[in-house]
Amino acid sequence: MNSSGRRLGLHTSTKLSFEDLVALVDRGLELSRGVPSKSFVGRNVILAFFENSTRTKVSFEVASSHLGMTAINFDITGSSLAKGESIKDTAETLASYEPSLFVVRSKESGLSQLFEEWTGVPTINAGDGEHEHPTQAILDITTLVERFGSIDALKRRQMAIVGDVLHSRVARSLSQLAVMCGIEVSFVGPDNMMPRYIFPGIARHSSFEVERYDILYLLRVQRERLSHGEALEVNKYRSHFSLTKERATHIGSEQVIMHPGPVFPGMEIDAPLIDSENSLIRRQTEISIFSRMAIIEAILEGSIND
């Protein structure tokens, strides 16, 4: 919040209203159809990625260049952070270059919010720890709206979010928005990867029956995030929760497959399915540009309201 009470950036999908979401989806699809974007020539966005990312960072770079902005990459590996500078000093130093926007990715929850509090510069959360990844969720809903024709057409669709829901920032953000759109979400995965407290209304299933769902949303299995004592046996996971060729034989032509990437073929999903008729995975990547353009426009124009 700034002094006028307006929210500055985008940190969580929890605080997004349905109206905000509809506006961002509509605008993203307009831009994807070639409607001219606003122009922010001469303004800078600093991409501060404290955690490795290729897709998200490139997507933001392309989106901001389409808007006429200059994207400045803050390279963590060669930065003073590696030399022990505090993260707050880093934020303040970067802010002194007067960017119009920060895009922050971190392995810690809550860093984008702190960047904004420390600097007053609007900040977009491009994934923070195991907390949220709201731009991914917005682009996912946008992709679904394009596929099914309208946001109303999403109502009562069945969505399975499959995998390590507990440690997934994508699942946290997407569930929120999917429920807002009237999608009936189920979490599918091993018991130790299910949240215990949040989303009490969302069903948990420990078996993956693909034919029950209109939307199969596969999460990346984040082996590195699993804490000691919860070691995952890859083969066991695959036999229960991967979208294998065998399991995919039950998929009908209306069903769609999604994945936030990066995809490791043969882990969550077998390679041929990634480019199948049912898959929206490539389209998610294409839409991400337009969706993020819409988000940046809205933030720079101050049109996302609480």
Partner: protein, 464 residues
């Protein structure tokens, strides 16, 4: 007029005998006369106490003074000033310092730095050498050399066998074993309380079981082996239940709660404000109510601050990376009292067991407080003042002529807003910044000297 003779007029005095309304003549820290309508002499300063509560100055069994090794955050000097401002005459300094006070050599060396301060600083020794949890220190030897309090605070002693050895030594020496109740194998390496909010924020969580399992284990050890067990900073209602049960069976177990756990619940963490990161973590409102019922029933023995200063750079971090702990020794009375007020709002009609409040409460009642508030205030002062004296086996008999006594004068009419400017501690990592708190320590008379006068610490006069 000399600087160490006072006549406290019209004091509502609370001490181990309960409540009385009277005048107290204090000569160099010793009660010279006590009674109604004492007439002033020219050689003494008159301190008007009408409407104020007077009690023995507070003792904190749980203060992090950071010296030696952490002087960037706090020192004996700065921490003792903060403690004085909070109404304290004595604090027990926690041993998570560098070096760790785990031998008489180290303790003697550190002790030398504390002796000239206006308040008393007791050094706690660690339970295990280097606080590593492996080998018990020479508890009997250290006890003979004046150490009463042992703790690995910051970490619980994980090995039951090591703790058993410590209890064996405590049973012989009478040493207090203060346990940081956290069983590390049960989700203890997190950042906030296990529950809906922590999961929504995607933070690693600390299970209430980490506390209750350790409490249950140590109660069993204490009952079987003997010795004295002090449960530090109890934060869950279940731990209180376990302690009540054990104390009913006659084991030498005492219970400490902190002011912050009596007021703040986990929702204060908000979207990840690291000023509210503390260990044990802030819990639920249900836990807060459980702690208050523990106080009301007499199960809780002391309020200990767990005053934990940190420099800014250790707090200006994402929640998971920020240091645990908050300062609070200056606000312990106010924060506890505000906690009681909130508890009363949630639990109308519930009152603490009236073991101290006399029948003539109306006459003694301070005009700024309701009878319910007065009851809770007395109970809180009991836990800040009398409770720690009982545990440390310091004198706490009722005030009488010849008693050597430190006195704190509490003003219930004041409300004050906390800011970095009001905090005396060297570190400002207070969760109460911006909050308006009730009550104030008006004066604090320690060793015959008024080290806090009109809410201001006499630093120039007594800390140079």
């Amino acid at each position: 007029m000399t600087e160490d003779r006072f006549l406290l007029k019209n004091a509502t005095l609370f001490d181990a005998s309960g409540l009385r309304k009277l005048d107290i003549r204090l000569d160099r820290g010793v009660v010279a006369e006590i009674g109604i309508g004492l007439s002033p002499s020219v050689s003494e300063e008159i301190v008007e106490c009408e409407g104020h509560l007077v009690a023995p100055s507070f003792i904190d069994l749980h203060t992090h003074l950071r010296e030696p090794g952490g002087e960037e955050a706090e020192t004996f000097l700065s921490g003792s000033i903060a403690a004085a401002a909070g109404g304290y005459s004595r604090v027990v300094a926690m041993p998570n310092t560098e070096p760790v006070p785990d031998s008489i050599g180290v303790i003697d060396e550190i002790r030398g730095r504390t002796l000239r301060l206006p308040i008393t600083i007791d050094l706690a020794a660690s339970i295990t050498k280097g606080r590593s949890g492996q080998e018990v220190v020479e508890i009997s030897e250290l006890t003979r050399r004046g150490v009463k309090f042992f703790t690995d605070d910051g970490n619980g002693v994980q090995s039951a066998m090591v703790m058993r050895r410590a209890f064996e030594a405590s049973a012989v020496s009478g040493a207090i074993l203060a346990q940081h109740c956290e069983e590390e194998s049960i989700m203890a390496s997190g950042a906030m309380n296990e529950g809906e909010l922590g999961e929504r924020l995607g933070l690693k969580m600390i299970s209430p079981l980490a506390e209750t399992v350790m409490v249950a284990r140590d109660i069993e050890l204490c009952k079987a082996i003997g010795g004295r067990l002090h449960l530090q900073h109890i934060s869950t209602s279940r731990a209180v239940e376990l302690a009540v049960e054990a104390k009913g069976g006659g084991a030498a177990i005492s219970c400490e709660v902190t002011p912050h756990h009596l007021l703040l619940d986990e929702s204060y963490v908000g979207s990840g404000n690291s000023l509210f990161k503390v260990n044990p973590p802030l819990r639920t409102v249900g836990d807060i109510d459980g702690l208050w019922r523990g106080i009301g029933s007499g199960a809780v023995d002391v309020i200990g601050t767990d005053h934990a200063p940190h420099p800014r750079w250790k707090k200006d971090l994402p929640f998971e990376n920020a240091a645990f702990g908050m300062v609070g020794i200056e606000e312990s009375l106010s924060v506890s009292f505000l906690g009681a007020v909130r508890f009363m709002e949630r639990n109308k009609g519930y009152l603490p067991k009236a073991d101290v409040v006399t029948r003539s409460i109306e006459q003694l009642c301070l005009p700024d407080l309701s009878i319910e508030e007065f009851n809770w205030l007395i109970k809180i002062v009991d836990l800040l003042s009398i409770g720690p004296r009982r545990l440390l086996r310091l004198p706490y008999e009722p005030l009488a002529i010849g008693s050597k006594v430190d006195l704190v004068i509490i003003d219930p009419s004041v409300r004050r807003k906390v800011s970095t400017e009001t905090i005396w501690s060297k570190s400002k990592n207070s969760p109460y910044l911006g909050m308006e708190l009730p009550l104030a320590i008006r004066h604090n008379i320690v060793n015959g000297r008024m080290i806090v006068r009109n809410r201001s610490v006499e630093v120039e006069r007594y800390w140079r």
